[in-house]
């Protein structure tokens, strides 16, 4: 119990791959990112509503889930703000 766990990046690799693939194939990443944002927010709304009636233990678990989904959303917003740069960067690399 006293040993700290190795921090593990909770990578949503499919999310990341889809964005990169969309950009590489010339598809609009914004559309995918907007749809993904909606899907994430929907789950966050459901979790937030469920937390209202949850026990303390369950609400801590829900908080854990919310923070992780929020991390994805922050990345989505971050990625949404710079798709043009990503395209340029990838064109150089390819």
């Amino acid at each position: 119990m006293s040993e700290p766990e190795e921090p593990q990046p909770q990578l949503q690799t499919v999310l990341f791959q889809k964005v990169v693939l969309a950009l590489m194939s010339g598809r609009p990443a914004h559309e995918y990112l907007d749809a993904q944002r909606e899907a994430h927010l929907k789950v966050m709304r459901e979790l937030t509503a469920a937390r209202r009636t949850a026990s303390l233990r369950d609400s801590l678990l829900i908080d854990y889930q919310l923070f992780h989904i929020e991390a994805d959303l922050r990345w989505i917003d971050h990625a949404s703000g710079r798709p043009d740069n990503l395209i340029e960067e990838m064109e150089i690399e390819l």
Partner: protein, 231 residues
């Protein structure tokens, strides 16, 4: 979303500040009793949109309609009356009057609307337990925590019985626990009072308290893909 006439609607809103285009054709509607989150990165125009919808700013073009009335065409005095009687406001730092105790801060909108002091203070007093502020009525804003200050701001926004509460980053200065408490109270008390809420935030956890989210990007509202309604 219902097909009924919205309580508040902004259509084709444009607003420039010098050469900066803050809004470039933003559209937004709010139903009665709805809690709506307006999200977007810094500088996206979300606060400008809120201010135009609340009648604090006048858009350069486009229209803002509240309850069938064009707010953007109203005279300043009419808009001020509207803001004092049917709109309530919660800002990031509360913007409480530092010299006034909590109770008088809550009573302030009623006093400004011409209510007698005794009536206003009695009405304010009733809000203290609803927002977990018992025993704090005589403290000054500087003597309470940030979360308590925001709860005072919520009480002040709702004391007049507004139709809409406009909240601009209401948890922006709070840690996540205090922020959750503030949002839980804001949403639950507003629903009890049948008031609609528009909350501007860049935090997804805050937006998740809303029935619906709209994103502002480069001065325009992004219409979301339909993935399901509010829980």
């Amino acid at each position: 979303m219902s097909e009924a006439t919205p309580l508040l609607a902004g259509r084709g809103l444009h607003k420039n500040f010098g050469l900066t285009q803050a809004l470039r054709g933003a559209d937004l509607s709010l139903e009665a009793g709805e809690v709506l989150a307006v999200m977007g990165p810094s500088g996206s125009g979300k606060s400008t949109l809120l201010h135009c919808l609340a009648g604090i700013l006048t858009p350069d073009s486009g229209e803002v309609i509240f309850n069938g009335q064009r707010i953007d065409r109203m005279l300043d005095g009419q808009r001020t009356r509207l803001r004092r009687t049917v709109f309530g406001f919660v800002f990031q730092f509360g913007q409480l009057v530092p010299e006034l105790p909590v109770l008088e801060n809550i009573a302030l909108p009623l006093l400004l609307a011409g209510k007698g002091r005794r009536v206003a203070i009695a009405a304010a007093q009733a809000w203290l337990p609803r927002l977990g502020l018992e025993g704090l009525g005589h403290r000054l804003p500087g003597e309470i925590s940030g979360g308590q200050g925001q709860r005072v701001a919520i009480a002040r926004a709702l004391v007049t019985g507004p139709r809409i509460v406009f909240a601009d980053e209401p948890t922006g200065s709070l840690d996540s626990v205090a922020g959750d408490q503030v949002m839980e109270l804001l949403v639950s008390v507003a629903k009890e009072e049948h008031a609609s809420v528009i909350v501007v935030t860049h935090e997804p956890r805050v937006a998740a308290y809303a029935d619906r989210q709209v994103t502002v990007r480069d001065g325009r509202t992004v219409q979301p893909a339909v993935v399901g309604g509010a829980p």
